[in-house]
Assembly symmetry: C2
């Protein structure tokens, strides 16, 4: 089965979480007019934990990109913000069914914040080693459930 990337828009991505970008929405002017603030772009959730900040340095995925498994975190959101400006795919599913799996393509200036419970592939980078800022729930209590697909899905760019 083949997955074709869709453009990443707030509207299309709403069932899975937030798109973090300085986009179409209204901004406010701060810092004596020197800065535009695009406010409150992600709903950070961290039931029973604390917000943690990491950098993930991802190797580029081998082509073709195969989706063999997804994972989800039920207790916290997880945000991925590209620090490199290159497009990358975001693989998500609202339920545990191969038919529910979708791929969105970030333009490289869009991050995402996955809602708690959203099935997703781990971070995928294209072309070059790529760094991302990650904001998620820190806790000693593990919160990762894995779903291994019966057959891999192939992303066709």
């Amino acid at each position: 089965m083949v997955l074709r990337p869709e453009p990443l828009t707030s509207l299309a991505f709403a069932p899975y979480g937030d798109v973090i970008e300085a986009g179409e929405q209204a901004s406010t002017s701060i810092n004596e007019g020197h800065t535009e603030k695009f406010a409150d772009l992600a709903k950070i959730e961290m039931e029973g934990g604390r917000p943690t900040v990491h950098i993930f340095r991802a190797e580029p995925a081998s082509l073709p990109v195969l989706v063999r498994s997804l994972e989800r975190h039920r207790l916290g959101s997880q945000a991925f913000v590209p620090l490199h400006g290159r497009p990358f795919p975001v693989v998500v599913a609202a339920e545990r069914s191969p038919r529910a799996v979708r791929v969105f393509l970030s333009n490289g200036h869009q991050g995402v914040n996955l809602k708690p419970g959203t099935w997703h592939h781990y971070l995928l980078a294209l072309g070059e080693v790529s760094e991302f800022l990650v904001i998620d729930r820190g806790s000693d209590e593990p919160d990762c459930e894995e779903w291994v697909l019966d057959e891999p899905l192939s992303i066709q760019f």
Copy 2:
């Protein structure tokens, strides 16, 4: 009075907050070995509030860069992570004295997380319009104190 930028290192910046970078510290291998995780790079604080995520789009500062005022937030940390890869200055002071003001120069791949109470100049960008991811404390309760210097300090790059 003239301020000269110092290199931004975790050690030198420790009195003011964290440096957010994939630097020298140990990383862990995750995602089937495809990703290096540089974990827990910022202590996010948000007394009585919630963590909020913004994008700030900053106009480049006029040269010479003059520091006329600083501000501080006592109840929450504030993180600035460059999304553009260009160097930018971070102006901070541990106390309300012109002699205490220091400037650190991020290499463009280093963000900072200011501790609650750290005096700082608002975000400064150099050369081009620059976007930053910002993580701070969201609340309806205002938390910004301003200090206007008697005489401006000039940053000499």
